[in-house]
């Protein structure tokens, strides 16, 4: 009897201890998550609010966390006085074209390597070598070559260089996807009368869409954030958003804190939106591509 009475008490004590441990664990996790969010998003929050503040609020004490009379005037100035619209458009055009070009080049390349070992082991290794070269080592010869070919200060020149830079990563990722793709499905499509191209486009592509999304996202964000080639190979007509951001933030911002902050917000936003929209595919794609192949 005594045993029967003691048992539930022991069980309930250990259950309570377990609950407390769980609760403490959850609380600590939340504290860590909030601290990490504050650490990583705090500066961005400050930049965002500074882009909406008036000049008198930049150095106010106590600090103005959220401006009472928020205004978009710095964004307006960025787009009028600092040619922000031109730079923003350039970034959008170059990033989108580079993304499309990377997809168009990498998919058939990866397909040929995965299905027929095109180029033996050499092609895939050669592609990897392209990734091993630091960009800074390429910049001077590339600049001289571009100057001779008249490709400086042109969208085409930028798209070519970014495509060449991102294709190796894209090919290696897609080869993994394609090797895991059941050949039987593709063969069934061929037996049903599809051409090889039709089978690739109508059967393979929809199934490896997460992988393509990763390639697209990577190319877009990497192009959007790229600075070295953007500064050396562009001119006044083709400068990109990252160059504008740096022209505000290097060498002292002086009195242009609002516009500098607005340029950072605009510099980050499109990449953030694209990443947010494609994140479902990104996680799936990276997980699949990473574990198989």
């Amino acid at each position: 009897m005594a045993i029967a009475l003691d048992r539930p008490r022991t069980v309930s004590r250990s259950a309570r201890a377990l609950r407390v441990r769980r609760w403490v664990g959850t609380a600590l996790t939340w504290v860590a998550v909030v601290a990490a969010l504050l650490f990583f998003l705090g500066p961005f929050f400050w930049i965002l609010t500074t882009s909406l503040k008036g000049n008198e609020d930049y150095f106010a004490y106590p600090p103005v966390w959220v401006p009472a009379d928020a205004s978009l005037k710095h964004y307006g100035a960025l787009f009028t006085r600092s040619s922000g619209a031109r730079y923003f458009t350039n970034s959008l055009v170059v990033s989108t074209l580079s993304m499309l070009a990377a997809l168009l080049v990498s998919l058939p390349t990866a397909y040929s390597i995965a299905r027929w070992r095109f180029g033996g082991g050499f092609l895939s290794l050669f592609l990897l070598v392209l990734r091993m070269l630091p960009a800074i080592a390429l910049i001077i010869p590339l600049y001289i070559m571009y100057k001779l070919l008249g490709l400086t200060n042109s969208y085409l020149g930028l798209v070519i260089v970014y495509t060449v830079l991102y294709v190796p990563f894209a090919v290696w990722l897609l080869v993994g996807f394609l090797r895991d793709f059941p050949v039987e499905i593709e063969e069934a499509a061929l037996i049903d009368g599809c051409s090889r191209l039709r089978a690739l486009v109508s059967v393979v592509v929809p199934i490896i869409a997460p992988g393509l999304a990763v390639v697209a996202l990577f190319s877009f964000i990497a192009t959007w954030n790229e600075f070295l080639f953007a500064i050396v190979l562009t001119g006044i007509e083709t400068k990109t958003m990252m160059v504008l951001v740096t022209s505000f933030t290097s060498g002292g911002t002086d009195m242009f804190y609002g516009e500098a902050s607005a340029s950072v917000v605009l510099g980050v936003l499109p990449a953030f939106i694209v990443a947010f929209v494609l994140q479902r595919y990104l996680v799936k794609g990276l997980a699949l591509g990473g574990t198989k192949g």
Binding site: N55, E56, Y58, F59, Y61, R81, S82, I140, Y143, I144, K147, N153, I231, V232, G235, I236, K239, V243, L244, T246, S247, F248, T249, S250, G251, G252, T253, D254, M255, F256, E259, A260
Partner: protein, 484 residues
């Protein structure tokens, strides 16, 4: 009747043509380069903004539009020289740091032939000697005009120096009157005195002095005025570095010893951080670029408007006389590219943006960090009344000019300065002793000289050394011991 009608039509058409034509001719006369667009290149958005202040005047008087490209500061020199060295340039008007004249000079169009051809007037009498002698020429020819007259001056918060309690305490401790420092000894005493308590009468823990000790050239600019006032010089006549001699060592040892009186983080400070601390009343004094004056006088951010003092950067007392050696920091110049297809129009633009009236607009605007450089800027009544204390501020700059020391204006100037700055910051961080740091810097300087061609560098340095001698800057190995 028919003849009359024809005559009437002819007269009407003539009158209409005259009415339409007259203003067109007038405009043509007033805007002789209507339809021309020139391209300028600058190294920051605020410089582009400064050009926008005169764009309308350029268009109204010349009919020329300026399209300005901004290349950020860090890659600016590399990118512009890359373009120039390819033998072409997409720009007509180029901004550059005069310290890089040996690198840029051969790509710039000499002004004198155009002055004669177009009867241009750059009002040279209105430019201080120091710029004319040290900053505008390449191989003896004038190739540029100043745009931003960078020098360092001292700024202080009068509250710190005028509170009776502070004066009494200081005299009791150091045995002399508290006043804005004139020598480095006084500077260091006062930094120690003011550090760590509310010298403004509050209970805040304030700091002893402000400075920028970051290793990307800043620490070098804060070491240099001490070094030169203790008799230092960059090289001897054979291009042997003199930076690790007694003057350099004394300057760096003092900086290492007193760093404890500066705000935490001073090792990471660039130009704006200490300025912000000054205008927030957190440091009693500092020396910095003259554009600081416009921030000091801006009531939107400054709590010391009307309470700020301005003066020459301290020096060293040598044989009873104070030797001042403030920095002539890089500044900015404007020039016409040798590869421009629109040289005539660009020369006219350079003349106009450099003229006393237009350049005043640029240097007065509180949103630019362009500093005054024409004598007339300093005398301008409008500028002298632009904020409380503006007259004292402008006088302090004018008083500084005869004493300034330029950068080592040699090919690779930036490399020399960066290597030295890095080593100075190493010593400030106590990772190396001052002597070790300066010895390493001297060794690095030798490597740069060898890489650039010792004979060529020595010949160029010979010219620069004699220019410096003309303005009174010479090597004095005995001063480091003598200096008080």
């Amino acid at each position: 009747m028919r003849k009359l009608s024809i005559l009437a039509v002819v007269l009407a058409v003539g009158a209409l043509a005259a009415w339409l034509g007259l203003p067109v001719n007038e405009v043509k006369a007033a805007r002789p380069y209507e339809g021309t667009t020139i391209r300028a290149v600058v190294n920051a958005e605020y410089v582009k903004y400064s050009l926008s202040l005169v764009e309308q005047a350029v268009y109204d008087k010349l009919g020329i539009k300026i399209e300005t490209e901004v290349i950020p500061l860090d890659p600016y020199v590399a990118k512009t020289l890359l373009e120039f060295n390819s033998g072409k340039s997409p720009w007509d008007l180029i901004m550059f740091g005069p310290s890089f004249m040996p690198d840029y000079g051969r790509h710039l169009e000499p002004l004198e032939p155009w002055i004669q051809k177009l009867k241009l007037d750059f009002v040279m009498d209105d430019i201080p000697d120091v710029y004319k002698k040290l900053m505008l020429r390449h191989e003896g020819k004038i190739v540029s005009m100043p745009y931003d007259g960078d020098v360092h001056i001292m700024f202080w918060n009068k509250v710190a120096f005028e509170r009776p309690d502070n004066k009494k305490k200081f005299k009791a401790k150091y045995g002399y009157e508290l006043a804005p420092p004139q020598t480095w000894k006084q500077w260091d005493d006062q930094a120690e005195f003011f550090h760590g308590w509310g010298w403004d009468g509050t209970d805040r823990k304030l700091f002893g002095a402000g400075a920028s000790y970051k290793g990307n050239n800043y620490s070098y600019y804060w070491w240099r005025p001490r070094f030169f006032s203790y008799g230092g010089q960059y090289f001897d006549a054979q291009m042997k570095p003199l930076i690790n001699g007694p003057a350099g060592l004394r300057a760096l040892e003092e900086m290492v010893k007193t760093i404890q009186y500066y705000p935490p983080g001073v090792m990471l400070f660039e130009s704006e951080e200490p300025k912000t601390m000054l205008i927030k009343g957190e440091v009693p004094f500092l020396f910095s670029w003259t554009s600081t004056g416009k921030r000091v006088g801006n009531p939107n951010e400054s709590v010391i408007v009307g309470k700020a003092g301005f003066g020459i950067v301290p020096g060293a007392e040598i044989d009873g006389k104070i030797v001042y050696r403030p920095d002539l920091t890089p500044g900015r110049s404007m020039a016409v590219s040798k590869y421009s297809q629109k040289k005539e129009a660009t020369m006219k633009v350079l003349e106009l943006i450099s003229d006393p009236e237009q350049s005043l607009k640029i240097v007065m605007d509180p949103k630019t960090i362009m500093d005054p450089w024409r004598v007339s800027h300093f005398k301008s009544e409008k500028f002298r009344k632009s904020f409380p204390g503006a007259d004292e501020y402008l006088d302090a700059i004018l008083k500084t000019f005869p004493h300034v020391v330029p950068d080592p204006i040699l090919p690779g100037a930036s490399e020399y300065m960066r290597k030295l700055s890095f080593e100075i910051t190493e010593a400030l961080a106590k990772r190396k002793s001052p002597q070790e740091a300066l010895d390493s810097a001297a060794a690095e300087w030798d490597k740069i000289t060898d890489r650039r061609g010792r004979d060529k560098q020595t010949a160029l340095w010979g010219e620069k050394m004699s220019e410096m001698k003309q303005v009174g800057i010479e090597y004095h190995p005995d001063w480091a011991k003598k200096a008080k």
